[in-house]
């Protein structure tokens, strides 16, 4: 498993932060609800207390004390179950009617609103069955002749509601914090597992196994996309590595024989003392051998430069037709010498944007190949035309061609077909053609001319480059 601490992962932190924010929001909402319910209930209690007190006071002033006592008696019976309390006190302070046993001592007797606690022992009434203190909201009215009336409402129900809401709010906060911790833990563990597989693969690759690939879970999610991209990148890197190894191997292999030959030749000359003319011709031979080696290196260098293709300040508009004609003119003499029928058919005015020297070298390499491998009396044709706006250059011959399964292989550096071993060449010609085509964003295809080879280079449509 990972060495990364779960609680320090980004997923966990983000999840936790969101959970906390959500909990706070939920708490605020619940709190507001609680507060508005409380306010509303308090207002209703007040209104109902005041109405009753006013009614009773009215009764007192228009009738007599007896009527009031009787009414309060009735009210008390009905009010008992609704936690409603009444008390009428005489001017001397004696309770005359109501369901409270005594004038609450600590009661403020001034008229108006009061909220007090009644101790269950002192003020026990019927219905106060549990040993519990009662908080009541009361309204005191001063009646004529120093009578006083108290109408009160127990706040038990309201208190219960308040306690319940408070508990719910705290519970909700606690639950969302817990849920967020658990969710964050599970989520980050799931994400970490995916990341672990990726970093595990990376570790194995660093350790030297380039064939490893990141497993794809098949869920088609962002991790699968990342894994696919990484795998594609690894594929490319592996290809390049293999290619590079192959090039190095091939360079070593292909240059060893001419270097050995050169060395042997020089050693043989040194065996005996010879006439100056012999030395001279031996040295000239050696120089020619070295020139071939140098040519190979230069060709490799050209390919590398074309492949790198970073600087393009020597690029310009190139008249592909004119270039084809120039190359045709260059190779006409060779064709004639070899008894090859050579034709060049450039459609006028086909332009591309590129490096004319590299393009010329590519065309020249292709013509070289055709001329080299066709037999006497064969045909070689060079065409330039526009196909759906795309400049296309084709070189076709009716020579031996390249077997279909070898066509991509011959584009690699130093690869030569076995049948070509006897002809001179370094196996770099087509590699350069490919590099130049790629540099120009062109598509290079080797096809079958039935019989012979058909090389097609399709360039992107010409656009005037931004100056």
């Amino acid at each position: 498993m990972s060495r990364i601490n779960l609680f320090r992962t980004t997923v966990f932190r983000v999840f936790f932060l969101y959970a906390v924010l959500f909990s706070l929001l939920a708490a605020a909402l619940l709190g507001f609800t609680y507060w508005s319910i409380s306010v509303h209930i308090a207002a209703q209690i007040n209104a109902s207390l005041k109405t009753e007190a006013t009614d009773l006071a009215y009764l007192f002033s228009h009738h007599n004390v007896e009527d009031l006592i009787a009414t309060i008696g009735r009210y008390s019976v009905v009010g008992q179950s609704a936690d409603r309390y009444y008390l009428l006190i005489s001017p001397s302070g004696l309770p005359l009617a109501g369901n409270l046993q005594a004038w609450p001592f600590q009661f403020d007797v001034r008229p108006g609103w009061h909220t007090v606690r009644l101790h269950y022992k002192e003020y026990q009434t019927r219905g106060w069955d549990r040993e519990q203190d009662y908080t009541v909201r009361s309204y005191v009215v001063a009646l004529p002749n120093h009578y006083r009336l108290v109408v009160a409402q127990g706040l038990q129900t309201v208190q219960k509601l308040r306690d319940y809401t408070q508990g719910a709010v705290l519970g909700a906060i606690a639950m969302s914090v817990l849920a967020s911790l658990l969710g964050g833990y599970l989520l980050s563990r799931a994400v970490l597992r995916r990341i672990d597989t990726i970093s595990g693969t990376a570790g194995e690759i660093i350790a030297g196994d380039l064939t490893r690939r990141v497993p794809i879970a098949g869920r088609d999610d962002e991790f699968d996309e990342l894994a696919a991209k990484l795998n594609a990148m690894l594929e490319r890197i592996e290809q390049l590595m293999v290619g590079m190894r192959q090039v190095t191997d091939n360079v070593a292999h292909d240059l060893r024989s001419p270097l050995t030959r050169l060395r042997n030749g020089l050693e043989v000359i040194l065996l005996e003392s010879r006439r100056e003319q012999e030395y001279r011709s031996a040295i000239e031979l050696a120089i020619e051998d070295v020139s071939v080696l140098l040519k190979t290196f230069n060709a490799l260098l050209s390919i590398t430069q074309a492949e790198a293709g970073v600087r393009r300040n020597d690029w310009a508009e190139v008249d592909l037709s004119a270039l084809a004609l120039d190359m045709a003119e260059l190779y006409e003499a060779v064709a004639e010498d070899r008894g090859v029928q050579f034709q060049c058919q450039p459609n006028a005015d086909v332009r591309i944007y590129g490096n004319r020297h590299l393009l010329a070298q590519a065309v020249s390499n292709l013509l070289d190949n055709s001329m080299k491998y066709v037999s006497q009396g064969a045909r070689v044709e060079l065409r330039v035309e526009l196909q759906q706006n795309s400049p296309v250059l084709t070189i076709s011959d009716n020579g031996p061609g390249i077997p279909a399964d070898q066509r991509s292989r011959v584009l690699e550096r130093f690869v030569r077909l076995d049948s070509a071993r006897t002809t001179p060449g370094n196996g770099l010609g087509l590699s350069l053609v490919r590099a130049v085509a790629r540099l120009h964003g062109a598509d290079l295809r080797l096809g079958d001319n039935a019989p012979g080879l058909l090389v097609t280079i399709t360039f992107p449509p010409f656009k005037t480059p931004p100056s």
Binding site: I287, S291, L294, A299, D368
Partner: protein
């Protein structure tokens, strides 16, 4: 001739100095750009050979400084293996020729000779003459021993270039550059075929051959000894 070589690579410089001295030239050498510029500004040389990458001042800025000081010594720019072969930039700042390492010494020698010749005052004449071979570029006519030789336009340009550099070795890449106006290293003998056709026309039916192959280097058109 007097040649200035500005090259910081010790081995390359030793090899250039030895080769050029043995070819009969007088060579001055320095390894850094500052000294190189001072020496080049004296204008005492017929050809300057300047490496692109130099300590203290790069090759291209030396050429820029020379040209703005009205020093028109022909310059051959060398660029090292692996650098981007940026001929265009080199020639734009006022270089006259460009050679990428690794190169054959014969190639360098041929190019230096060609540059020195270019710096000579132009002949006002419209005719070139080598032994009994005559080329008239106004009339577009070539004769050898007073017999007209019929040449294709490209053969005419090829011969003209060879005659302008008569007595000097010209390499295959120099011909491709100057006669065909393409700069690349031809993989096969494509230039040789053109030379042998030209040779068939100007040398075959006449006594002494003028167009010679220089092994490992290129060709030379010269008067018979």
């Amino acid at each position: 001739m007097r040649i200035l070589v500005i090259e910081d690579d010790k081995e390359a410089a030793t090899y250039l100095l030895k080769g050029l001295t043995e070819s009969g030239h007088v060579v001055d050498h320095t390894t850094n750009g500052e000294d190189g510029l001072h020496m080049a500004l004296t204008g005492a040389y017929e050809v300057d050979v300047i490496d692109r990458m130099l300590p203290r001042r790069d090759g291209l800025s030396i050429i820029t400084a020379m040209r703005s000081a009205e020093i028109h010594t022909p310059v051959l720019i060398l660029s090292a293996l692996g650098e981007v072969d940026d001929r265009v930039e080199g020639l734009r700042v006022g270089g006259d020729d460009y050679l990428t390492k690794p190169f054959a010494f014969a190639e360098l020698l041929a190019r230096i000779d060609a540059l020195a010749r270019r710096s000579l005052p132009e002949h006002s004449s419209t005719r070139l003459l080598v032994a009994d071979l005559e080329l008239d570029f106004l009339k577009h006519k070539v004769t050898r021993a007073d017999k007209t030789v019929h040449l294709q336009p490209r053969e005419f340009r090829l011969l003209k270039y060879m005659m302008q550099h008569a007595g000097q070795v010209v390499t295959r890449t120099m011909l491709l550059e100057n006669v065909w106006d393409y700069h690349f290293d031809p993989q096969t003998n494509v230039i040789d075929v053109h030379i042998s056709r030209l040779r068939a026309k100007i040398d075959k039916d006449f006594g002494e051959p003028l167009l010679h192959t220089v092994r490992g280097a290129g060709y030379c058109l010269r008067e018979p000894d």
